[in-house]
Symmetry: C2
Subunit: 452 residues, 2 copies
């Protein structure tokens, strides 16, 4: 099950699998599945519609199901796990790393977790309980407990002999961790150092203090930032007293980065970050219709604003024709600012002094863009409806709306973050509500005052 396949070959396989699934050739299918890497099986499962997904899942050998589960996304995983009996889960998850296992267990009811913990040996149970005691989105929940530790006062010769005694090292081990008698983290001993320095030297003489320990309570997003900035492969996780609890490796950090990026993209469209593309219609309907309902309220608010000016529109229907332009330009310009600020906040660019500068810049941009497009839109409108007054007032409305759009684009995400809400999720709705209301109000209001 573990030999490599190139992505091209992988994709061919996926197509072959899909074909075999459709035609129901189960023997061929089982053979195909067992020749794939677990990550590829996971990918296949994620790209199958509900009915065939379950069929394929049942054909995955039970000895591989655990590893495959550790590779699929959260939503697909809980979909698959609904079809496994708790007593089977225990055997199925036997060979997983504590962090992968913890992820899977978090989905289960308390009683089921107890049952699985009971089947484990004392050491593995203790390790798993440590990971489970921290929230999923902290360093403690992300870490693995398979650290190899050494003492600072031994020679490299001793370390070499110790490693040969162990026989194997956990995946992605790039360093050993140096701890004192009380298990407190002291520094790392890189494998590259161990291989290139003289064996008479002691660990103290060659260990590196360059990798800082990560508190178990640090949010995973900050863990990822630290890994990215320092080009780390692994880093030690410690408790409040500085005792080594485990290590975080780059492969888990990559998942955090991918999830975080997905979250912004999906949330902006009101989708769940881990939405199962192939979820059954009725499951998707709940999430999607909720989002449409929220947006409908803002649409009704905009309609109500327009309704205030019914009499004006009656007198000059050109206003009805042109008003969506004012609202739409505000929405587009505001979204640009909003996206920029959401990204700047995520990357940790903003502080008090540069936020003020940035607000100034965005307001200037709004005003300049407003002026530029006010002229274009004003001229076109004046010619289209043969009225210079109409052209001037739509231009004025555009300038006002683009300035408000810039202001909202900066203020809304900062405000949302301060109250603990996700700017990517709520920012767009709030912003377009403001640009719609301001746009319609300015345009139709000016028209009522000056035109009709």
């Amino acid at each position: 099950m573990l030999q490599p396949t190139s992505p091209e070959r992988g994709n061919e396989y996926l197509n072959a699998l899909a074909a075999a699934l459709e035609s129901g050739r189960m023997v061929r299918l089982r053979r195909l599945l067992s020749s794939l890497h677990p990550a590829e099986v996971a990918h296949l499962l994620e790209s199958l519609p509900p009915s065939t997904r379950l069929l394929a899942w049942r054909l995955v050998g039970t000895e591989h199901q655990g590893v495959v589960l550790s590779y699929v996304g959260d939503e697909v995983r809980s979909d698959l796990m609904d079809n496994i009996a708790v007593e089977d889960l225990a055997s199925l998850t036997e060979n997983l790393d504590p962090d992968d296992l913890a992820n899977i267990l978090r989905e289960l009811p308390e009683a089921a977790i107890e049952q699985i913990l009971h089947t484990m040996d004392a050491q593995n149970r203790r390790r798993l309980e440590t990971v489970l005691s921290y929230p999923e989105d902290t360093a403690g929940g992300l870490m693995n407990t398979d650290t190899i530790t050494v003492r600072a006062d031994v020679t490299l010769d001793v370390v070499h002999r110790y490693l040969r005694l162990l026989g194997t090292l956990p995946d992605t081990t790039d360093s050993l961790f140096v701890v004192d008698r009380e298990d407190k983290y002291q520094g790392i001993l890189r494998l590259t150092t161990l291989l290139t320095r003289k064996w008479e030297l002691t660990v103290t003489e060659v260990m590196s203090h360059g990798v800082e320990s990560i508190p178990a309570s640090l949010p995973t997003v900050e863990v990822a930032q630290r890994f990215e900035k320092r080009d780390l492969i692994s880093a030690p996780v410690v408790d409040e007293e500085g005792k080594l609890l485990g290590r975080i490796t780059i492969d888990d950090v990559v998942d955090v980065i991918r999830d975080e990026a997905d979250r912004s993209l999906m949330n902006m469209a009101g989708l769940a970050e881990d939405e199962d593309t192939f979820a059954p219609v009725l499951i998707s309907l709940r999430q999607r219709s909720l989002w449409l309902g929220i947006n409908l309220m803002t649409a009704f608010l905009a309609a109500w604003v327009i309704g205030l000016f019914e009499a004006t529109i009656q007198k000059q229907v050109a206003l009805a024709v042109l008003m969506p332009i004012v609202a739409s330009m505000g929405g587009i310009a505001g979204s640009q600012t909003l996206t920029l600020i959401i990204r700047a906040t995520a990357l940790g660019y903003l502080n008090q002094s540069n936020t003020r500068w940035l607000l100034g810049k965005e307001l200037a941009l709004g005003a300049l863009n407003g002026l530029l497009w006010a002229v274009v839109i004003g001229v076109v409108s004046a010619i289209w409806f043969k009225g210079i007054g109409l052209g001037i007032l739509i231009g004025a409305a555009i300038i006002i709306n683009l300035i408000f759009a810039a202001l909202s684009g900066v203020v809304i995400p900062i405000f949302l973050r301060r109250i603990g809400a996700d700017p990517a999720l709520a920012g767009g709705v709030l912003l377009t509500t403001i640009t719609d209301v301001v746009g319609f109000m300015a345009f139709l209001g000016f028209a009522t005052l000056y035109l009709v």
Copy 2:
């Protein structure tokens, strides 16, 4: 310059730096800067407005400027490099890895590259030229040439002695590469294997064939997918004949993943993927106003559609009040489908058979959501404007628009990708054009036929 600082301390430093910059205390500032990690200096530079950015850049010791340059984003880098003389660049880039150096050189005119290549020794020049000969977005452009190679027929004992002779290994070395006499890639020898197995064994006996070589021409996005799926730390890059050219390490892949995610998010708002948040107003104006201009054309198209029904609106102004609701619901629903499909394509989920299933699902969702909200909107409209006919026809328009939105959300990104365009960039504009036009056309068209 290289001792670690925690993010918290780092941020304090950034604030202290910002304050020192504002008050002009240059001595203090220089001291602060030299105590930071190059990644933190890069981060600081990226979060400074243009004038202070240049000031801070000049205070970075010239011996560190090269490393700092390798950490900043493309746009900020070219901004900073405009202020360095070519003859200074040569000394400044002395200690960089070939891949970082290549990234920087790609920004320079041919003559300047020649000049810098001339100052390098033969080996480094050859390495750099190899990297430069591949496009930036391929494995060859991403790779580093600092591979440590061994032969398959030697014993581990020989390898150990060779490494101690070398004295140091490049950063993020987790494996040595096994090559034959013609430099053809044979497999990897993990450092963990080297440390745990008996020294009498030969490399052949313990090397791993589990890491496939990456062709130098493979796009970086696919390289990233392969690293993610296989939890790789490093992988060998080969030419068409299978000769080892270099290696790609996970830290560079993390940058690819981050850039790729950024690209989708930024492109959806019509922003450059690497847009400098603190670029001068006039630089940002060009990009932003272009995007507004494109959107304005679609807004005018929608206005033109409304204009076709001026007479109808004149007779019943309620239509003008309600029509933005029809368009907006279509836009929101369509964006959800579009985002989902863009993500599914990026993750490689789609093939012919499941695309058809997905289209069916999205159409069903569109129809169901259409039905649901048609009832809500229809009832509210009928009550608001005291007309059952109006309620029925806005409901019908909503259903039609939401079905068209689902169709466009699936078809547009697939079509754009087939013609080689970026769905994240052009998808949203095309989609809202369709939902605007269909929404207004259906609603006002029905009204013209049946209501007035």
